[in-house]
């Protein structure tokens, strides 16, 4: 096998799958969003679907709700993950057990997480009962609405619960890969605890933190299951809105569903592009590079 072609041959199966299934899917979504649906006998290219959804109040409400959920979940979980990774970094008594517990919810499906949060936080849920026992509330309605609520706190709680462990494990792996040497060297040069964290540990973790938050943000922006279990019916999160339009018996709604998909995709793309640019320029500024 000619060495120069080797990497391409090795990549061919994966690229075929991704290009056909994923690339094809995105392309078809785009085509259907501009009204090209030959299987329904429509081939006229039009931007009607985009016009229609941008005029709906439901769409913009969904959009801001989704953005809020994704941003809040990403920010909170990344911060918590940083704290957890630092706490789990060095060995102590029971380290293995606690690390295992921390890994425990990596394989838990979001759907189960959502059910757990529902049973825990609903107004007649486990915590409400504990609050009642403690004499804090007297009836379910006194317990703050955390699920099916306008601020989507329940959804955010589930995302934070799941993704903190995901991000935390990535950060932990990065920390363990880097080791202590650099911090020891910094300490030797006179850096105190805070300075070691600020000028050594944090910069080492930044690339992993950016990657993990990009994954988390994109996931929470586009996920479907958790909002379905824990979200209000109206306004709903964008993916739910798109899916509802897609399965609508009115076939006119289909281009609208596809248009929403395209908009979700573009928005995620733009936001991630901006955030990586920002983090990159910031990193460069720290390093004094251009």
């Amino acid at each position: 096998m000619p060495t120069r072609l080797r990497p391409y041959l090795l990549l061919a199966p994966t690229l075929a799958v991704i290009l056909l299934l994923f690339g094809g899917g995105v392309l078809l979504a785009l085509m259907q969003s501009v009204g090209y649906l030959p299987f329904l006998g429509r081939t006229e290219i039009t931007l009607d679907a985009y016009r229609a959804i941008l005029q709906q109040a439901a769409f913009s409400q969904s959009f801001f709700l989704t953005l809020w959920v994704a941003l809040a979940s990403t920010a909170v979980s990344t911060l918590l993950a940083l704290v957890c990774a630092l706490a789990l970094r060095r060995p102590f008594r029971g380290h293995r057990l606690i690390t295992f517990i921390f890994q425990l919810n990596i394989p838990i499906p979001h759907l189960v997480g959502a059910v757990g949060i529902l049973f825990l936080f609903s107004q007649s849920g486990f915590l409400a009962r504990l609050a009642n026992l403690a004499g804090l509330i007297s009836q379910p309605a006194d317990f703050p609405a955390i699920v099916f609520d306008p601020w989507a706190i329940g959804i955010i709680l589930e995302y934070v619960w799941k993704t903190t462990c995901f991000t935390g494990l990535i950060l932990l792996a990065t920390l363990q890969g880097v080791g202590n040497d650099l911090e020891t060297a910094a300490q030797n040069l006179g850096a105190n605890r805070w300075q070691r964290f600020r000028y050594v540990t944090l910069p080492l973790l930044t690339p992993s933190m950016v990657s993990a938050s990009v994954l988390v943000f994109a996931f929470t922006f586009g996920a479907f299951e958790v909002p379905l279990v824990l979200g209000q019916r109206f306004p709903s999160m964008l993916p739910v809105l798109a899916y509802r339009s897609y399965v609508d018996i009115d076939l006119n709604a289909r281009p609208e569903a596809m248009a929403m998909n395209v908009i979700i995709t573009l928005l995620i793309g733009v936001l991630i592009f901006l955030s990586t640019c920002a983090s990159r320029t910031k990193r460069c500024a720290v390093n004094g590079e251009r």
Binding site: F22, V26, A29, Q32, P107, F119, L169, P239
Partner: protein, 272 residues
């Protein structure tokens, strides 16, 4: 004095919070699954019963068939994604070639772009080629979210891989298969297990892609579970949830030691 101080260290508090935070949502799940009557405001179920568990494992509950479908799909997806993704991980980790950045970006795109969007788009083609309402179609559509993670994890291990070990084995007389079996495989084994874990649980957890492409014919556990969540029977929902997480937990038990303390296995995520 020192004792008290030690237990109140910030790190101890953080660790306690981790344990409580991770485990708390499981408490009502466990309690509900064995409850018979559990009305507000009782903190514990008023009467216990195994009704939910009996129902879950009774033949008419479809749980066993859903378990079968879920397992079949997840195992097929895991095997297929590793078969396809292993060479790609090797290429991305080990070689420099033109267009590498673009290829990497393309492969990672499905982790960023919601797979539901792509799946809705491709749905018409799946209908045309008879890939809906059957396991094959579901397996194919699961590859979209699974494959990027598999390639990412495996490219991480191949980035620290020394191909001279294979050359050494070759001059000692090892054939291509023997080199894979006795050199490559043992070296990348931890990462392979982690990749397998991710592939399995991502597929295992899919609800909406399965529903869309499986069209109610391929009823996997999440599809079944969702119908119970909507029905409002908390006890059965809880029992089913626990059944749903059991195999994934077993898989985690088998692979946990490769998840942390090993830079190569998860390190790939840090270099997106």
């Amino acid at each position: 004095m020192t004792r008290i101080k030690q237990t109140l260290q910030p790190r101890t508090l953080i660790l306690a919070a981790i344990v409580v935070g991770v485990l708390l949502p499981f408490v009502p799940l466990l309690l509900w699954s064995v409850s018979f009557r559990w009305l507000y405001p009782s903190v514990l179920p008023e009467s216990l019963s195994l009704r939910a568990w009996q129902y879950v494992f009774s033949p008419r509950a479809e749980v066993l068939s859903a378990l079968g479908y879920s397992t079949l799909v997840a195992l097929l997806v895991t095997a297929l994604s590793i078969l396809i993704g292993l060479p790609a991980g090797r290429a991305l980790g080990l070689y420099k070639f033109r267009g590498k950045t673009a290829v990497r970006f393309l492969i990672l795109a499905p982790t960023i772009v919601p797979t539901l969007a792509a799946a809705m788009g491709i749905h018409v083609l799946f209908i045309r080629y008879g890939l809906v309402d059957n396991v094959l179609g579901v397996v194919l559509v699961h590859l979209i979210p699974v494959l990027p993670y598999v390639v990412l994890i495996l490219s991480g291990v191949f980035a620290n891989y020394n191909p001279d070990f294979e050359a050494q084995a070759q001059t000692l007389g090892a054939s291509a298969w023997q080199r894979f079996r006795h050199v490559t495989l043992p070296t990348i084994f931890p990462a392979l297990m982690v990749a397998g874990l991710f592939a399995f649980i991502i597929s295992w957890s899919q609800y909406i892609l399965t529903l869309l492409i499986g069209g109610g014919q391929v009823v996997t556990l999440p599809v079944l579970l969702f119908s119970f969540v909507s029905s409002g029977d908390n006890a059965i929902t809880a029992a089913l949830s626990l059944v749903f997480i059991a195999p994934a937990l077993l898989f985690l038990l088998a692979t946990a030691r490769y998840l942390s303390g090993n830079q190569a296995s998860l390190g790939g995520f840090g270099k997106l």
